[in-house]
């Protein structure tokens, strides 16, 4: 039955939909301009047809009208574009057939009357690299220092802003020293400053104290940890993936060693091997060594170009053709992910013989598909006079002669290496001694010292092209992201969408920063320092009362900063540091209390449970895990930080070079065979029988609850969350505060506030413990005992938590809160709790 509300909805919707369905300018014009005009335009009107004007379109060509106004479905235009690839009449003829979405849009457009707005004349579209047309604001002289580079950045930005039309920008001055200390410390080392750091900064009376602060923090051990987060987000590092933990450790070490960014990227793109020994191989493993996925990821992550759509059809919102995507994917065409060993799995990447990338795409009709040769779809910028920043890069990197020859020797060695499909051999040999010995013999033939981890010459070429200083995307893509990380907004948004169809708001500012990044030898620390020395970074926020439009304009044009929320990791670590929770802040035994907890007592026979548990690990056995009683996760597990030992992850395995050999993998497979035999062991059979009895008993999972009282000394300390396995488990504090799952391209940190975030801050263990006043922290003697001084206590707490002194009004309020507490210490805890939960704590000044 219909109700009247629904009918009304249908009517209203139909009005909206009829107008909204196909937009000529957005959807149809780009198809004509990129595909049709070349042959049917002012230069050559093939078949007497011109598609650049409304008149030409309506007139048709020598084969008649394009549109059948009596029956739109039967229009010639639709017939031509829908013919099979090899049909003589298909349009377009000199390029690939139209993609699915384009055919659909044209069909919808024709069906709804093929309306061509009056006066719209189309021009042939030529693909161009966006944002390079203008460069008159960029000085030709190289800056002499990073400070000068920062000043030039501000100057270009100002010139670009001055050129804006119809925009009234409100400019906010730079923030005061203490606010800068807080902002810079959070950005560089991932937590708020300590009192010591604050005192040191205040004691510095020099004019360049901000630059000196940056210099101090940039060599702080936590700098690498904080910026590992940036690169791990960028690269989508997942500890749970094959090679993920090693990749994370590799990124951390690369940042710590100040490895040039281009070098890191070359390693990530081109490395094959076992992550335990070649951690950069974890990058390809992260996409399961799938050529298509790697092509999409490489373009988007390193070049900021979203080509993904072109995997399945020509890019509907950009100029990328499906064939170009395949050309790029072909660089990864022979990569192979190999899984060897059964009990101890070894996973690595190597190169196979045949490419997996073939054209035309699988879903199309033609049976014959040809291997695609790698071809770089991005244009490098050519020059006649070498640009100054590239000359500076080359100067910086001019190697001495001996280094060159060593490099050449290494290269020859790598080129020697050949590919073997080890997985297939192993699969064939599995559990079959005859085949095993055959495989072994085969292995002996190819053993002669070669690695099983073949490297790819094509991927090395790709790595060189991606990181070529003439590549107009590479440096800009990273600088855009880094600027956004520090200043709050990007020049290009979404951050990884450099496209002719997307605005670059300050192309020259971005280009200048990118050039300086190249000239510095892709030095990450220099780039960060340059950004942080700009006025744009150091500006304050717009005052309350600003309209949404004013806010957007000021933030987009960098005349005011956006209040950024601390990253989840940084927020947690800041609570810990503000609350002195890295160490115990109570004497032993000061917090003894009774805790009541429910535990689960299994109803099954205890001996049977124990007997059933001792099983071979070969069988996934989720039920056994469920029957383990008392394994309740402790409350507050979701706030734990756990340190990974990055150094251990990067230690090559003991076995040394031999283990890289093919033969070793075979011997492992032999060990598997022996293990399989062991499965017949009596002990395992007995456990199996016990398990069967347990399962049949009907009691395997039943339990009763019992409340137990435990005595606990509640005096926790916390670890930093920056060295955790990433991403943290779902529902963990970090995830709740926006750490991405990192399995999606184009996934950024979610800064949206949520109910769960509030619950975890309001009621979390860390906030609670950070608020309580313990005797081992400095404020203790200011709030209890003979020398108590509430005013000084409040001032200290403000400095520790907000990195500033309280106003007169705040001081009065704070003292009232302290007096309202059961004791002054409890009152102070109330004050600290509110401060830690406040907007001011969470959002950067």
């Amino acid at each position: 039955m219909l109700d009247s509300g629904r009918i009304a909805c249908v009517l209203v919707s139909s009005v909206c939909l009829a107008g909204a369905d196909v937009d000529f300018r957005q959807q149809i014009q780009p198809i004509f301009e990129s595909t049709c005009i070349r042959c049917h335009g002012s230069d050559s009107a093939k078949g007497g047809l011109r598609l650049d004007t409304k008149e030409g379109f309506l007139k048709g060509g020598k084969h008649g009208l394009l549109i059948n106004t009596k029956d739109y479905e039967k229009s010639e235009l639709l017939r031509r574009i829908k013919l099979p690839r090899d049909h003589g009449d298909i349009m377009p003829q000199e390029t690939e057939p139209l993609s699915g979405p384009h055919k659909n849009w044209l069909t919808d457009w024709v069906r709804t009357g093929a309306k061509w707005p009056d006066g719209v004349v189309l021009k042939q579209k030529r693909k161009e690299v966006p944002g390079l047309a203008q460069k008159d604001f960029i000085p030709t002289q190289a800056p002499r220092s990073l400070a000068e580079a920062a000043a030039i950045t501000d100057q270009i930005l100002k010139q670009e802003n001055d050129a804006l039309k119809d925009v009234m920008l409100q400019t906010v001055p730079v923030i005061d020293d203490l606010a800068f200390l807080r902002r810079a410390t959070v950005d560089l080392i991932g937590r708020i400053p300590t009192m010591d750091e604050l005192k040191q900064f205040e004691a510095d009376r020099s004019g360049d104290k901000r630059a000196k602060l940056i210099d101090r923090l940039i060599v702080h051990p936590r700098f690498s940890e904080r910026w590992t987060v940036f690169f791990a987000d960028l690269l989508r590092v997942r500890s749970g993936q094959d090679g993920g933990p090693q990749l994370l450790a590799y990124v951390n070490r690369s940042v710590a060693e100040n490895k040039p960014y281009d070098e890191m990227v070359r390693e990530l793109i081109a490395t094959n091997g076992r992550p335990e020994n070649s951690p950069a191989a974890g990058f390809a493993l992260g996409d399961a060594a799938n050529p298509m996925a790697l092509a999409g990821a490489t373009a988007q992550i390193f070049l900021g170009v979203r080509m993904q759509c072109a995997e399945c059809h020509d890019h509907p919102f950009d100029d990328w053709k499906q064939k170009e995507f395949y050309d790029l994917a072909a660089y990864f065409g022979t990569i192979k992910r190999v899984e060897a060993g059964k009990n101890v799995k070894r996973i690595y990447t190597t190169e196979g013989k045949e490419t997996a990338v073939k054209w035309p795409p699988e879903r199309e009709q033609p049976v014959k598909r040809d291997a695609v040769a790698p071809k770089f779809p991005f244009e490098l910028v050519n020059y006649t006079t070498k640009p100054n920043h590239i000359a500076r890069l080359e100067d910086r990197r001019r190697p001495n002669a001996s280094a060159v020859s060593a490099e050449a020797a290494k290269k020859t060695l790598q080129d020697l290496v050949d590919g073997l499909d080890v997985k297939q051999t192993l699969r064939d040999s599995k559990q079959d001694a005859a085949l095993l010995s055959e495989a072994k013999a085969a292995a002996h033939q190819s053993l002669d010292g070669r690695s099983i981890y073949a490297q790819s010459a094509e991927r090395k070429k790709l790595a060189a092209l991606i990181t070529d200083p003439r590549n107009p995307y590479f440096a800009r893509a990273l600088m855009n992201r880094m600027w956004a990380e520090l200043v709050g907004r990007g020049f290009i948004e979404p951050l990884d969408n450099i496209s002719a169809y997307n605005t670059i708001r300050h192309p020259q500012t971005l280009q200048f920063l990118a050039q300086e990044f190249v000239a510095s030898g892709y030095d990450i620390r220099s780039a960060i320092k340059t950004v942080m020395l700009t006025q744009a970074y150091q500006r304050g926020h717009l005052s309350a009362g600003a309209t949404v439009k004013e806010l957007a304009q000021a933030e987009e044009n960098f005349t005011a900063t956006r209040p950024r929320r601390m990253l989840g990791e940084v927020l947690f670590d800041s609570v810990v540091i503000a609350g002195h929770l890295l160490t115990h802040k109570w004497p032993e035994g000061a917090n003894i209390r009774e805790v009541k907890r429910q535990i689960r007592i299994p109803l099954a026979n205890a001996a049977l449970l124990a007997a059933a548990e001792d099983m071979s690990t070969n069988q996934p056995n989720m039920m056994m895990a469920m029957t383990k009683p008392g394994q309740a996760p402790a409350p507050y597990d979701l706030e734990k930080g756990a340190s990974l030992d990055f150094e251990a992850l990067l230690k090559p395995e003991k076995a040394g070079k031999d283990e890289d050999k093919f033969g070793d993998v075979l011997s492992e497979s032999k060990r598997d065979l022996e293990m399989n035999k062991k499965k017949e062991d009596d002990a395992i059979e007995a456990a199996r029988q016990a398990r069967i009895r347990l399962l049949r008993s009907g009691n395997a999972e039943r339990f009763r609850l019992e409340t137990v009282t435990a005595i606990t000394d509640d005096n926790p300390k916390f670890e930093s969350t920056l060295r955790m396995a990433t991403p943290a488990p779902p529902s963990h504090f970090l995830r709740v505060f926006g750490q991405p799952a990192r399995d999606n391209l184009g996934e950024f940190r979610d800064e949206a506030p949520s109910l769960r975030q509030e619950l975890m801050m309001l009621n979390g263990k860390a906030t609670h413990e950070a608020s309580r006043v313990g005797p081992f922290e400095p404020v203790h003697h200011l709030i209890t005992g003979p020398n108590a001084n509430a005013a000084r206590a409040v001032e200290l707490v403000y400095l520790e938590i907000f990195t500033r002194r309280p106003t007169v009004e705040e001081m009065a309020e704070a003292r009232a809160v302290i007096s309202a507490g059961a004791t002054p210490a409890e009152g102070l805890a109330d004050l600290r709790w509110a401060m830690l939960n406040s907007h001011e704590f969470r959002y950067l000044p």
């Binding site: 249908v10 919707s13 005052s543 996760p633 999972e701 779902p730 399995d743 950024f748 949206a752 907007h839």
Partner: protein, 421 residues
């Protein structure tokens, strides 16, 4: 507004929001008319999804093959629905069969746990470049929030990701049903009065910040804070608590994690939660499948049967779609380890409530449960059916953060019309 995010709302959706109906947005006219002309109005308001991870044997549960060699050790028993037989491991569910529909002809395509789980939970094929939202996420994305509790709750295990729908469509996890969630109340030692005092101090500080700087996020944080405090003080929180349940009720559902989880699911649904997923593992029985299934029966049978009965009693069954899924079935052939291996070609699922017609079987497998014999049902048809039950347009197109248009449910999926009364 929907109960999770409108973040990635499409332009079309935006345009048509003025029309005031979220369910019919973005539909081409012909389909819109078709939906309205459809025979049955949506009745379901909420969903309980039992997710059985590992691949549950269809022959040993909903599609018994008595008298065949593949039938295994369980007998087929009669049910309260004429002519329908199920495995003997579900004697209590058998007595509720007049409320249930069994689909015996799901034609799966993936025999690998990861890929199959992904398809069963999202309706889409796995794709390294994009994560599609699971059933719970897209359901809450398409429906109104109802009450103080989170709209989507997952009990006893991982729910699928919200994918491109973002953080606000992720499930709220409950690890152990009945266990106190420490984040829903002030920490131990902070009594209500002190907590309220703290909140007042906080409100003052936040107001000062909001009066100083312009930032959209601060206002949203204020809203989240308000919601959090409302939840902490909400009487609805009592539904998380199992301690006050009648011991007889607890016993009826079973003194197991699964029994408690199922009871909790019932309470949450009755309090207004939109989607509850109850997770259970241990179905990947390559070895000793019969004792394993015997145990599964002894745990699940009382819980599921009590749930259906109680929802019926309280009048909630009509509004609550109960569906039990697994990533695939298991081979008819019994292997040398007395187990069954992965089998995706055909498998079964159980549905009840939410407008689903009771006491029927849809489709059938062949005599040995090897392949669909009649009325094959595609995996994505299940998702389309869930949408249909809830009045959600399963053909709706969303836009991913990359700007890629993406169907809510995989292209070509059709609701299984016979399900609905």
């Amino acid at each position: 507004m929907s109960s999770c995010t409108d973040y990635y709302a499409t332009r079309r959706r935006f345009l048509t929001q003025f029309a005031g109906s979220a369910a019919l947005l973005g539909m081409p006219i012909n389909r819109l008319v078709a939906a309205i002309g459809s025979a049955h109005a949506p009745k379901a308001k909420s969903v309980i999804l039992f997710w059985n991870g590992g691949g549950m044997s269809h022959i040993d549960t909903w599609d018994p093959k008595p008298g065949r060699e593949v039938g295994g050790e369980f007998a087929a028993i009669k049910t309260s629905a004429d002519g329908i037989q199920i495995s003997e491991i579900f004697p209590q569910v058998a007595r509720q069969m007049h409320h249930c529909t069994i689909i015996r002809s799901i034609a799966g395509t993936n025999g690998d746990h990861g890929r199959a789980t992904y398809e069963l939970q999202t309706s889409h094929q796995q794709n390294p470049a994009l994560v599609h939202p699971g059933m719970g996420s897209f359901v809450v994305n398409e429906s109104q929030k109802n009450g103080d509790l989170p709209a989507y709750i997952s009990i006893g295990g991982m729910a699928p990701r919200a994918g491109y729908l973002g953080q606000r469509c992720e499930a709220y996890y409950i690890g152990l049903p009945g266990e106190r969630d420490p984040y829903l109340a002030f920490p131990d030692g902070i009594h209500r009065e002190q907590g309220d005092r703290r909140l007042q101090v906080l409100a003052k500080m936040n107001l000062r910040a909001s009066n100083k700087i312009a930032a959209r996020d601060l206002k949203e944080t204020d809203v989240a804070l308000k919601d959090a405090v409302a939840l902490m003080k909400s009487p609805a929180l009592a539904s998380f608590d199992l301690d006050k349940e009648n011991p007889k009720t607890l016993e009826r559902y079973g003194l197991t994690e699964f029994g408690r989880g199922t009871l909790l699911a019932k309470k949450l649904i009755e309090t207004g939660v939109r989607f509850v997923q109850v997770n259970r593992g241990g179905f990947d029985n390559h070895m000793d499948v019969f004792p394993a299934m015997r145990n599964h029966g002894s745990v699940m049978d009382p819980a599921v049967a009590s749930l259906i009965e109680d929802l019926h009693q309280s009048g909630h069954l009509e509004k609550t779609l109960v569906i039990m899924l697994s990533e695939f079935g298991r081979t008819p052939t019994i292997n040398k380890d007395a187990g069954r291996d992965h089998h995706a070609r055909v498998f079964s699922c159980l549905l009840a409530g939410g407008g689903v017609k009771g006491g029927q079987v849809i489709g059938s497998s062949d005599k040995d449960g090897m392949a669909p014999a009649t009325r094959p049902v595609q995996v994505a048809d299940l998702h389309a059916s869930v949408c249909h039950a809830l009045g959600i347009d399963h053909t709706r197109e969303l836009t991913t953060p990359l700007g890629r248009p993406m169907k809510l449910v995989r292209e070509g999926a059709k609701p299984v019309q016979e399900l609905f009364a």
